[in-house]
């Protein structure tokens, strides 16, 4: 129980840091740490494949993409924001926590217990025997993402040629 609370608190703290930090690199790294916590929580909740994807894709791949993009854009990584954003976010955050708590409390009582364990079997079994189609769609998403990068960053290369 104590470990879970520490993990949940870490998740929330690093998620908030990711929004509040002004240095983009630090914000991206906080997001990575937050998703690392989330990945461990998934493991503890007996959802190994969600955990693996969370850590490999979100904490790993996406962070690399973020850091690369930030490195490519400008030397000055600071974002200029108005003060209102910094004041408004904590208020909304606290409001959200209160509402979320209330909604979840009433909702959770009405959701019946799971009829069967959602992730019976080993990681490999779940991935290859039960949810194969997701892999096809994930290939599609990666393909679409790669093609989108190819299509949208084409002008830069042309400029270089000139």
């Amino acid at each position: 129980m104590a470990i879970q609370i520490i993990l949940l608190c870490g998740l929330i703290i690093f998620s908030v840091l990711a929004i509040l930090l002004k240095d983009l690199i630090k914000a991206a790294l906080s997001l990575a740490v937050a998703s690392l916590f989330l990945g461990i929580i998934f493991f503890l909740l007996a959802a190994p494949y969600a955990g693996v994807f969370e850590i490999s894709v979100v904490a790993g791949l996406i962070t690399v993409l973020f850091v690369l993009t930030i490195a490519l854009t400008k030397k000055d990584g600071e974002v200029k924001e108005s003060r209102i954003v910094h004041l408004a976010f904590p208020i909304f955050f606290i409001l959200f926590i209160v509402i979320d708590g209330l909604v979840m409390k009433s909702l959770l009582q009405k959701i019946p217990v799971l009829p069967i364990g959602p992730e019976a079997g080993t990681f490999g079994e779940v991935l290859w025997k039960q949810r194969t189609f997701d892999l096809v769609a994930q290939i599609g998403i990666i393909l679409a993402g790669v093609l989108a990068v190819l299509a949208l960053f084409r002008k830069k290369e042309e400029d270089k040629d000139e």
Binding site: P118, W128, F133, Q138, I141, A151, R154
Partner: protein, 492 residues
């Protein structure tokens, strides 16, 4: 083989960037069009098995072992596959000439094919999470395609589209998560079965509300429409045609009504709510369209209005209403595809889309003018064109269900539709030729050919209404009208 609808476009898309290095234009053009023509042919071949069996379930095996790749095809999905293949083939024919000034054809076609594969996948998969995933694949491809021109307004529109679309996906995913929590399963059949035995009306109501918000955003129903009038006009014309003609229908209408009819079950209260959303979209978007000066923006508002008609018919829930809604979906896909392609032709010919600058083009570009008139009259519902029949069926269904108020508004909005389409026709094509358009010439061959094919479809479907209705519409409408029994029959 039903898997070819997903596999072939994905495979061709994967190789296109490489092929583009060898041949910049010819091979990408030929390969894309050949792949799409094959899919269209394939969808026609599947009519007979669907007619005799009602549905097809296929499992893929890899090296002799089943890998649990399962797809389910019934009348409704086949109808969607046919519509997707037909419109996308015409769009890719149009792109042969239109993309000359954008360049980078191979990249464009690759994204285009990924979008088509994703739409086909969305239509074929029998489980909720795969629906979500394929919806995302189509969305990622479409963000890039909207921004393909790389101009500032294109990028802005794409960003706005991305932001609102992510909200839509979040709602859909949240709802799927809760349903998974309720039933412990994701396949349509198990969820439909599980929800029947369960008494969780409030939680299920929340799920349905999230689905309506999520898919409503994707379908651009009012009040979730804010992104569409920016995103659709900014995209290159072929992509506007794909987005307005197909994507909002597949990832909005198809997904919503497949889940509502075949998985959750349409309750009378839900039907009334959706009908209200539909009629508001029909009327408000028609009024908004009247004030537009940019042709594509007007067409985009018209899409919202026509999606309203489709939702009105489908949400009514009577067999006739469903048939009318589906028929209008097909007619709107072809006619709006045609009109967006035509707007691309106009832009290609004159360099502008502003109605105030155009005038008298009809004498100079008879093919563009003529096909535009056919598409406009079809959507406005003028006999004997296809759109007339679908609107007539929807209105008759509304009258039969004693929803007289809805029927009246639907008729009035139809007159508004005719009004703003005649506005386009009058301002752009009729009257004296303006000085600066004296030298304009008709659109290139493939652009005109694609427009003519779509115009002929609008005309011929109207004339040969009965066989079309029997072959495509009524099996699809029956599959939906069977409701939850449809997916229980699949026996996955």
């Amino acid at each position: 083989m039903v898997f070819s609808f997903i596999v072939i476009p994905l495979l061709v898309a994967a190789f296109l960037p490489l092929i583009g290095k060898i041949s910049k234009k010819l091979l990408p053009d030929v390969l894309t069009n050949a792949a799409l023509a094959f899919l269209l042919f394939n969808s026609i071949l599947l009519v007979k098995p669907i007619f005799t069996n009602g549905f097809i379930i296929q499992n893929l095996s890899w090296l002799g072992e089943k890998v649990n790749l399962q797809i389910a095809l019934d009348g409704f999905s086949l109808f969607m596959l046919f519509t997707i293949s037909l419109v996308s083939l015409c769009v890719s024919l149009f792109s042969i000439d239109y993309l000359e000034h954008y360049g980078h054809k191979a990249n464009f076609y690759a994204l285009f094919l990924v979008m088509i594969a994703a739409m086909n996948g969305l239509v074929l998969v029998p489980d909720l999470f795969s629906v979500y995933l394929f919806m995302e694949v189509a969305a990622v491809a479409s963000y890039a395609l909207v921004a393909f021109g790389l101009g500032s307004d294109e990028l802005e529109a794409s960003y706005k589209y991305l932001m609102l679309s992510v909200v839509a996906s979040a709602f859909v995913l949240l709802s799927i998560t809760v349903i998974f929590g309720l039933t412990g399963n994701l396949s349509f059949q198990a969820v439909a079965q599980g929800l029947q035995d369960l008494n969780a009306r409030i939680v299920l109501g929340v799920c349905v509300a999230f689905f309506i918000m999520g898919f409503g955003l994707k379908a651009a129903l009012i009040p979730f429409h804010a992104w569409l009038p920016d995103a659709h006009p900014s995209a290159p014309a072929p992509i506007s045609a794909m987005l307005s003609g197909l994507l909002i229908k597949v990832s909005g209408i198809y997904a919503l009504f497949r889940i509502l009819y075949s998985v959750i079950g349409l309750s009378p209260a839900l039907s009334r709510l959706l009908m209200a959303l539909g009629i508001i979209s029909v009327l408000v978007a028609a009024l908004l369209a009247l004030g537009q000066k940019d042709i594509k923006r007007m067409l985009a508002y018209s899409s919202i209005s026509q999606v309203g008609y489709i939702v009105l018919g489908l949400a009514l829930g009577t067999p006739l209403g469903i048939a009318g809604g589906l028929f209008h979906l097909f007619n709107h896909a072809t006619a709006k595809g045609l009109l967006f392609l035509n707007s691309g032709s106009i832009q290609h010919i004159t360099g502008t889309r502003n109605l105030d600058e155009l005038g008298g083009l009809g004498k100079k570009v008879p093919i563009t003018s003529g096909t535009n008139l056919v598409g406009a009259l079809s959507i406005a519902g003028v006999p004997p064109l296809a759109g007339f029949w679908s609107k007539l069926i929807i209105i008759i269904a509304l009258v039969q269900a004693k929803a007289f108020g809805y029927a009246l508004v639907a008729i009035l909005a139809s007159i508004l539709t005719l009004w703003y389409y005649l506005l386009i026709q009058r301002k752009a094509f009729f009257g004296q030729v303006r000085e600066k358009w004296q030298q304009v010439r008709e659109a290139p061959f493939w652009m005109s050919a694609a427009n003519i094919i779509l115009a002929l479809i609008c005309l011929l479907v109207g004339i040969f209404f009965t066989p079309v209705y029997k072959t495509w519409i009524s099996p699809a409408a029956e599959a939906l009208a069977r409701g939850i029994h449809q997916v229980l029959m699949w026996g996955l």
